[in-house]
């Protein structure tokens, strides 16, 4: 099959039907990827493009497609004046800032522990990974009762250890986001730990041996061998962690519905509410595009740092 496409060495080509054969092979290739491409085009590409289009319009989506009214950049001009948009950007940033570093640090810690010989390692690994695969609704239901400020175990424990001024958790506009951050860290911990374990196992032992020979202690080994060697893993988790934290939705929708006040309104939730509760699909699309731009900028920054920092550390 390939011989007719690339031939740096001059093999005498047979004359018959080459053009048609190549065409047919190309067609066969396309047919193989067609189902996947079709699904992708209909369910991913088209909605994304349609969202871009809608971000320049006003549309109450129930009344049918002919109700779409193009308003140019008006929606974008509305963004800075939208009280919920400003708050949701702030809350989303805070959430990401709270969740991602902690997830990575704790994930790495667990991975380092798990990487050594410990009892019932498979069982512990399973327990670690369980939160990540549990249904968000189930997670929300359980944490809701844990965080109950009146009778929940967390506040009871805090009271036992002597804290008088108990936080109101999900009912307090100061603590609601903190509660969500805690749940966010808990959910993603196992995934981070698992990826780190894989990364740790790819660090060659010779490096550790030579470090020991040079008299490196535990911390020195970590800082000079482990950490630099797993920096690609770290950056991968950082980027994917930031992207998925920016998109947090189910936790908010199930546990707090954006409240109390606007303390847990995040961008994805604001998009949902603007589109499906206020019936302003056009403006909701605008907010979604804004979210995309923010995440994109962050990813670019991280990518740049990745290129600069990791390449320097990669062993050659």
């Amino acid at each position: 099959m390939a011989s007719s496409v690339v031939s740096p060495v001059e093999i005498p080509k047979p004359q018959t039907n080459k053009g048609r054969l190549r065409l047919r092979e190309t067609l066969v290739g396309y047919m193989f990827i067609a189902p996947n491409m079709l699904v992708f085009a209909i369910w991913v590409l088209f909605p994304v493009l349609f969202t871009f289009l809608l971000s320049f319009a006003e549309w109450d989506f129930i009344t049918g497609l002919d109700a779409i009214e193009f308003v140019g950049l008006e929606n974008y001009a509305e963004l800075p004046n939208d009280i919920w948009f400003v708050d949701s950007v702030k809350n989303t940033f805070l959430f990401t800032l709270g969740v991602v570093p902690a997830q990575i640090a704790l994930g790495l810690l667990f991975a380092l522990i798990m990487n050594n010989q410990i009892y019932v390692a498979p069982a512990i690994r399973a327990m670690l990974f369980m939160p990540y695969i549990t249904s968000p609704i189930a997670v929300a239901a359980v944490w809701l009762s844990l965080f109950n400020p009146r009778g929940g175990p967390i506040n009871q424990f805090l009271y036992q250890i002597g804290i008088q001024d108990l936080p109101g958790w999900l009912a307090s506009s100061d603590w609601a986001l903190v509660a969500l951050i805690i749940i966010g860290i808990w959910s993603g911990l196992g995934y981070n730990a698992l990826i780190f374990i894989a990364g740790l196992q790819s660090v060659p032992d010779e490096l550790y041996e030579s470090a020991e020979i040079d008299g490196a202690g535990l911390w020195a080994k970590f800082w000079n061998v482990t950490f630099p060697m797993i920096s690609p893993t770290t950056f991968f988790l950082l980027i994917t962690g930031v992207i998925s934290s920016f998109r947090v939705f189910e936790l908010v929708a199930v546990m707090t519905q954006g409240g109390p006040g606007t303390s847990t309104t995040v961008l994805a939730y604001h998009v949902y509410r603007t589109g499906f509760v206020f019936y302003r699909m056009g403006y909701a699309s605008t907010i979604a595009v804004a979210l995309l731009v923010i995440v994109f900028i962050f990813t670019l920054i991280q990518w740049y740092l990745n290129q600069r920092y990791t390449r320097f550390m990669r062993p050659d």
Partner: protein
């Protein structure tokens, strides 16, 4: 070979066509479908009742859930031809939305003598001179009171009261200020302050100071008074279960009241379904009733509560005439079938006694747990009408900012003056894009 293929195709075509021809000459009774989301049994009783008396128009019930998915399912089915004949929208916003989208059939030609204004007290279903449907349910709100607790405290339930009098009464019914003490009252799990304001001002004036819906009405003193009232009930006098407790513990009115963790609750007739469900909510005290307290001495200007079960004929129905007949029956006499689940009709053709008796006899023994005199007097007090919202654009946003701010007032983070200032400011901001 080819000839054989062609002949067999032709035969198949002829056969199929003849089947179709036979179908269309059928003389079956007309079947119409009703899409509804309330309790199945009473609805089915209504359908059976109609079917018995109307052999040539047979009705069928299709149940949907009144949540986002269910409503989307209904919206989609409405677009299809012949799929739905009569449907009930829950919430005026849903009804309006479907009418605006052209999914409701005008009824003027099928029911020329159907005067909704006279029979239901509202012209909200008449849009641009065309009648699109009628409200089936009238859901009043009132105070449910634990009679035993009242007697133990040596009190008497008044026939009307202001919020001050109510607070005193609730204080006598409150065990203490601790989180596990029985409280005097539990209020609804949403801020409810907008409802309270609407009982005085009417649904439109609650949100808008003008006629076109571009100026919010938050600087009306009633808003501050309503927010202050709930704040005081919860935090100052401590007679009400706090809003944050309700949120954090996901408490329900019925869960708390029938468990005797609060001695009063304010809500609508939907709570009767829990009152008669002694398996889920076992209790042995008698429930008595009083009207919702008002801010001034002359009582609320409107009847607390609202209309619901907005019934319409689908625009894509194949039998609009028959559907219209069914609709008319359903929202008038037919609605009495639903009374056993606590759904009372909005039709003015029902007398209060008729409905009260129908309900009490439908629930059998549990009627002993209801103070029947107060029940008939308070629940069926038709001296005032429900207020109905005619302006809907921008209301969800205003409602959301109100909800956000109200929560901060109830927890004490904002005073009611600051709250009203913030509401006015934010109200302008959210209405601006809709009004330019």
């Amino acid at each position: 070979m080819r000839t054989l293929v062609r002949i067999s195709l032709l035969l198949t075509l002829i056969f199929t066509l003849s089947l179709v021809a036979v179908q269309s000459q059928d003389d079956e009774p007309v079947t119409i479908r009703l899409w509804a989301a309330s309790a199945t049994e009473p609805l089915q009783n209504a359908i059976d009742d109609w079917n018995e008396n109307n052999p040539n128009i047979q009705a069928e019930l299709v149940r949907y859930s009144n949540n986002n998915e269910g409503n989307t399912r209904l919206d989609t089915a409405l677009l299809a031809e012949g799929e739905i004949d009569v449907y009930i929208s829950y919430g005026l916003a849903n009804f309006r939305r479907r009418v605006d989208a052209g999914l409701a059939e005008p009824l003027n030609e099928y029911l020329p003598d159907f005067d909704v204004i006279e029979e239901f007290g509202t012209d909200i279903t008449i849009i641009g001179d065309m009648l699109y449907g009628a409200p089936g349910q009238g859901q009043p709100y009132f105070v449910y009171i634990n009679q035993n607790a009242v007697e133990e405290a040596g009190l008497e339930v008044p026939e009307s009261w202001t919020w001050e009098e109510f607070t005193e009464f609730a204080a006598a019914l409150t065990e203490g200020a601790g989180p596990f003490d029985t409280k005097g009252v539990i209020l609804p799990g949403w801020p409810y302050t907008s409802d309270l304001v609407s009982y005085e001002l009417g649904a439109d004036a609650t949100w808008f100071a003008d006629d076109i819906g571009c100026v919010a009405n938050f600087d009306n003193p009633l808003w501050q008074e309503a927010l202050q009232t709930r704040f005081e009930l919860e935090q100052v006098d401590q007679v009400a279960v706090t809003f944050s407790d309700i949120q954090a513990g996901q408490l329900t009115l019925q869960g708390v009241f029938f468990n005797e963790e609060a001695n009063m609750m304010i809500g609508g007739t939907w709570l009767f379904a829990s009152l008669i469900d002694l398996d889920e909510y076992p209790h042995d005290f008698v429930t008595t009733f009083a009207p919702v307290p008002s801010f001034d001495e002359d009582g609320n200007d409107f009847r607390p509560g609202g209309l619901g079960d907005w019934t319409a004929v689908a625009a894509n129905s194949n039998h609009p005439e028959e559907a219209a007949q069914f609709l008319r029956w359903f929202v008038t006499d037919g609605y009495l079938n639903l009374i056993e689940s606590g759904r009372f009709g909005a039709w003015k053709g029902f007398t209060p006694e008729e409905q009260a008796d129908a309900f009490l006899s439908a629930i059998g023994d549990t009627a002993e747990l209801i103070d029947q005199e107060a029940f008939a007097r308070v629940v069926f007090d038709t001296s005032k009408d429900f207020s109905v919202a005619t302006m809907s654009e921008g209301v969800p946003q205003l409602s959301q900012i109100h909800s956000d701010v109200a929560q901060l007032v109830f927890s004490g983070e904002l005073t009611s003056e600051e709250a009203v200032e913030r509401l006015t400011e934010q109200g302008e901001a959210v209405l601006a894009p809709l009004c330019e």
